[in-house]
């Protein structure tokens, strides 16, 4: 009976504590597929930009202040942009991802300044982060650049179809 008396309050407080766990969600609300078409010499030379192509919605809430905020990471699922034609793959570094805008639907955003550009290397890299953590609801607009930097132009690449999956990850900062 003593044990029961001990267990039930524990259970009660634990429930209260866990009810205040941070919560978060990440969803793609636009531009869920990115397609580059390189069909002229100018595009081979200057690259292709898809401005404001993807829109991600982030919700994060940490009412008990158990975390230091949230972070949006990004990684490529493969170590290069894979050729579907048996020719050489394109390097990941030919693709750049830019967060160009953060629209605040609820809460606040005082995190990484935009535009924030990342170049992928096969590991998770941080795109945005913020220490704001109460009832956050944001829409993040993403742009994609392919072959626009001087060192990784597409000129000379074999024609064909290439693909890579990008994984966005929302995590809490501990």
């Amino acid at each position: 009976m003593r044990i029961l008396k001990l267990l039930f309050p524990l259970l009660f407080f634990a429930s209260i504590a866990f009810a205040q766990d941070p919560t978060g969600s990440l969803s793609i609300i636009g531009g869920s597929s990115v397609n580059f078409h390189v069909n002229s010499l100018t595009k081979y030379d200057e690259g292709v930009t898809l401005e404001g192509w993807s829109r991600l919605r982030i919700r994060f809430d940490d009412p008990a202040s158990l975390t230091l905020g949230w972070r949006l990471n990004l990684k490529a699922e493969t170590l290069s942009i894979i050729s579907d034609s048996g020719t050489d793959n394109l390097p990941l570094t030919s693709l750049e991802i830019r967060a160009i805008d953060v629209t605040v639907l609820d809460g606040a955003y005082n995190g990484t300044a935009v535009p924030s550009t990342v170049i992928l290397d096969g590991n998770y890299v941080e795109l945005l982060s913020d220490s704001e953590k109460n009832n956050i609801d944001l829409i993040i607009t993403i742009s994609y650049d392919l072959g626009t930097n001087g060192t990784n132009k597409l000129m000379g690449s074999a024609p064909g179809y290439y693909y890579v999956d990008l994984r966005y990850q929302l995590i809490q900062i501990n």
């Binding site: 990440l26 597929s33 078409h37 010499l41 942009i81 394109l90 179809y161 290439y162 995590i171």
Partner: protein, 195 residues
């Protein structure tokens, strides 16, 4: 009583299952379609005409090395490294007045003069070479890193200097060959861009 304790304990530990850190992910597929761009453009000198009207012409011939009217300007816009092949349609010039007249195509010689903004290819025809009906790589990238490089028409431009009947050429002057009948001789020269 034990069951009650066990149940309460299970309920307690079950709560730990809900205490997970935020870790959400979403995947966006990215595709790249590269369409090949491959263009060879004759910018000028698409019709070269050598007219022999004097003994001096027969004795000295004509050369694009010194006279721009005997030059063909070619530009290449290519998204990949490239080779350029050239060959004559026939083994000899074709006479237009008398079918029995002949003029060997090897009387026609050519040399490339690179004028593009890009560095010249490693392998290209830099000295006068007799024309033939066999395919000749005038720019060759069959060996990796050699040949023409991907780029636009400004980067990849060259002149073909044509010459005929010049002293020092393989066949020599037309006068030195002695028995060439007067006629209007023509030859189609094919230039191919190869990726």
């Amino acid at each position: 009583m034990r069951k009650l304790v066990l149940g309460a304990a299970m309920l307690l530990f079950a709560q730990f299952g809900f205490g997970q850190a935020v870790n959400e992910s979403a995947i966006i597929p990215v595709s790249v379609t590269l369409n090949a761009v491959s263009r060879l453009n004759i910018e000028s000198g698409g019709n070269i005409k050598f007219v022999f009207t004097s003994i001096n012409d027969y004795n000295t011939g004509f050369s694009g090395e010194t006279d721009p009217i005997y030059r063909t300007t070619v530009s290449v816009a290519s998204s990949r490294n490239f080779s350029v092949n050239m060959y004559s349609e026939a083994a000899d010039f074709l006479p237009t007045d008398n079918a029995s007249n002949t003029l060997a195509i090897s009387n026609l010689e050519y040399q490339l003069n690179w004028t593009g903004a890009a560095a010249p290819p490693t392998t290209y025809v830099e000295v006068f070479t007799p024309m033939s009906d066999g395919v000749t790589a005038i720019i060759d990238n069959t060996v990796d890193t050699e040949g023409g490089l991907a780029g636009d028409g400004e980067a990849n431009r060259f002149d073909i200097w044509w010459r005929i009947g010049v002293a020092g050429s393989t066949e020599g002057t037309l006068l030195s060959q002695g028995d060439i009948a007067a006629d209007h001789y023509v030859a189609n020269i094919f230039i191919e861009l190869v990726n």
